[in-house]
């Protein structure tokens, strides 16, 4: 009897999830299907989720890119920017978060408030002064403005990781201290393994945000050879002339793949992280 009830629960769960997933993914499916349609029929057949034929031309056409610069270049650039800044961002944010969450030092409160404030100003306002500054540094048309700042921590991740550290009982630190661990050792050997889920969450976000970031690269990169995918996608459309919609959708679909793969690979560390040891509770 109990088993039967469980089976039904399982089926109900699955059904609910399938419906939910379909509803959530409908726009995504629409985009992918549209990428296979002829450019001219995308809007006239917008209601249909079945392409009239499988037209891979849009992928070939889209990948060719612009003026001889293909999406191979854009993808390569995106990977450089994204991977470096994700590693930088997650590592430094973890360090900083530990400092804020676990160590007592004077002036901490003020710095924390400063950090929160930086998240409350819209980037659209900061970007012109920032451009002027990076231009002084001679960093325009390089990757410096896109990568280097991430090595100084990202407030969102710092705060996130802090909150996770604060769910870990102090007793663990105390015990380690009695065993003669320094603060750094407590951080690297005890706290870090416990907050892997938070770090992985940050890594996934960081990867996607950097991958998707459009304004930063647009401002700081001048030459299309340096553009990432996010900028490449914007170059298909001009409201006044012909937009190659199917190529745009095709490349949009391809550009989601790395995010998808990264997520799929990393998500289990969030939920099945290595933190199942007996340290807790």
């Amino acid at each position: 009897m109990a088993i039967k009830r469980k089976t039904w629960q399982l089926i109900a769960q699955q059904l609910l999830l399938i419906v939910l997933t379909f509803v959530m993914l409908y726009p995504l499916l629409w985009m992918t299907v549209s990428s296979f349609k002829d450019n001219s029929t995308i809007f006239t057949t917008a209601h249909s989720l079945v392409p009239n034929k499988l037209n891979f031309d849009s992928y070939v056409e889209g990948w060719k890119g612009f003026g001889g610069i293909t999406f191979t270049t854009f993808f390569k650039n995106s990977f450089i920017i994204t991977i470096l800044s994700t590693i930088g961002s997650v590592l430094s944010s973890t360090l900083i978060a530990y400092g804020f969450a676990r160590i007592k030092f004077s002036g901490k409160q003020i710095w924390f408030v400063c950090m929160m404030i930086t998240m409350m100003l819209p980037y659209e306002i900061i970007m012109v002064p920032q451009y002027i500054m990076f231009n002084w540094f001679g960093w325009v048309n390089t990757y410096w403005p896109l990568i280097l700042p991430t090595f100084f921590g990202t407030p969102f991740f710092i705060f996130l990781i802090m909150q996770f550290i604060r769910t870990i009982p102090h007793e663990i630190d105390e015990a380690a201290k009695i065993d003669g661990c320094s603060k750094f050792m407590i951080f690297s050997r005890i706290i870090m393994p416990l907050i892997v889920p938070a770090m992985m969450t940050s890594a996934i976000f960081s990867f996607y945000w950097r991958w998707d970031d459009f304004m930063g690269p647009l401002l700081y990169l001048n030459q299309p050879q340096l553009y990432p995918v996010s900028l490449g996608l914007k170059m298909f459309s001009d409201p006044d002339s012909i937009t190659n919609w199917s190529a745009l959708f095709a490349m949009s679909t391809v550009s989601i793949l790395p995010v998808f793969i990264i997520f799929f690979m990393f998500q289990r560390y969030i939920v099945e992280g290595i933190s199942t040891s007996g340290l807790k509770g």
Binding site: W111, C114, I117, F151, L160, R166, D212, F260, I270
Partner: protein, 318 residues
């Protein structure tokens, strides 16, 4: 800002303040500053200048192309006394934040709880449900969303089938904002992920102990899951509030300029228009600092309240 926040309000302990249990001997300035050094360097070298400059510009008539002339408080004055569009955008934004943020958070928590239970293909579901957050600002969404909510769109077809009167989602000023609220809820992936990670961090032993005590599922949820999740809830509430106030892309890509009748004129969208369409960067900077003030007050209040409802394992029982 710092003055408004008391030590209780902050998620960091301050030495020498009554509330903290530990004595000053635990204070370790050197180690502390070493750990936050990357932040300090970045803050001083890269952040202070643009932030300070935007504050300065808010007192000028800067238009990005020419000189910035000091005009004192004129921008702030005009904003509060002589700009109906500003007031409209404030109204729209408050409504948006107060509906969209709870909507997204509750939805994200519900899905996270569901996913935490699923056994079959859980990785796939997690991934697929996160995907909507991944195409947020793309052109495809703007095209798609207008198709979905159009008069003969998918949503109205469903409503008609169910016998519910259909609505002009895009054209009726009373409903247009709801398409943006739905869009915000649809992209619940990041909050969901954080909740999932938080759920994971709750030790199983607590549940096991509760089960031995005969607590039912609802009790376990109320007595264990929610309290232990509060640090994460606090994080999500604060970050979503900030993001909600700063939301801009959804309205920009779907309605463009606040149509119909400025009913989707989000605050940052209007600020963006002033800065880059009307070349009124000084005024836009003033708007940004006004926004900072409002978000700051909200955040401070939430931090202040957090000592009543957020449960930190690390602070244990006093």
């Amino acid at each position: 800002m710092a003055k408004q926040l008391t030590s209780e309000a902050l998620p960091v302990d301050l030495p020498g303040v009554k509330r903290t249990r530990k004595k000053t001997k635990d204070t370790d300035n050197l180690t502390g500053y070493l750990f936050i050094l990357p932040f300090l360097v970045g803050f001083i070298a890269l952040t202070v200048f643009p932030v300070a400059m935007s504050l300065y510009l808010s007192f000028t008539d800067y238009d990005m192309l020419g000189q910035a002339n000091w005009i004192g408080l004129e921008n702030y004055q005009r904003m509060l006394t002589d700009d109906n569009k500003f007031l409209q955008s404030v109204k729209v934004t408050f409504f948006y934040v107060l509906t969209a943020v709870p909507f997204r958070l509750i939805f994200a928590l519900a899905v996270a709880l569901l996913l935490a239970k699923v056994m079959v293909m859980k990785g796939l579901y997690r991934t697929l449900l996160y995907l909507p957050s991944v195409i947020g600002g793309s052109v495809a969404i703007s095209v798609m969303w207008r198709q979905l909510f159009g008069n003969e769109g998918a949503l109205n077809s469903i409503l008609a089938q169910l016998g519910i009167p259909t609505v002009s989602w895009l054209g009726d000023p009373a409903y247009a904002i709801w398409t943006l609220i739905l869009l915000y809820g649809w992209q619940f992936g990041s909050s969901m992920l954080i909740f999932l990670a938080g759920l994971k961090n709750i030790p199983n032993s607590y549940y096991e102990a509760a089960q031995v005590d005969g607590a039912n599922a609802w009790h376990r949820f109320i007595k264990i899951t929610i309290p232990l999740l509060t640090p994460i809830i606090l994080f999500n509430v604060i970050m979503q509030l900030i993001q909600g106030f700063m939301a801009f892309t959804p309205s920009y890509i779907i309605f463009g300029d606040g149509r119909p009748l400025n009913s989707t004129l989000l605050y940052v969208l209007y600020m963006f228009q002033r800065a880059f369409t009307f070349f009124d960067m000084g005024y836009a900077s003033a708007m940004a600092w006004m926004l900072l003030l409002v978000i700051g007050i909200f955040t401070a209040l939430i931090f202040k309240s957090s000592s009543y409802w957020v449960h930190y394992e690390s602070e244990g029982d006093k």
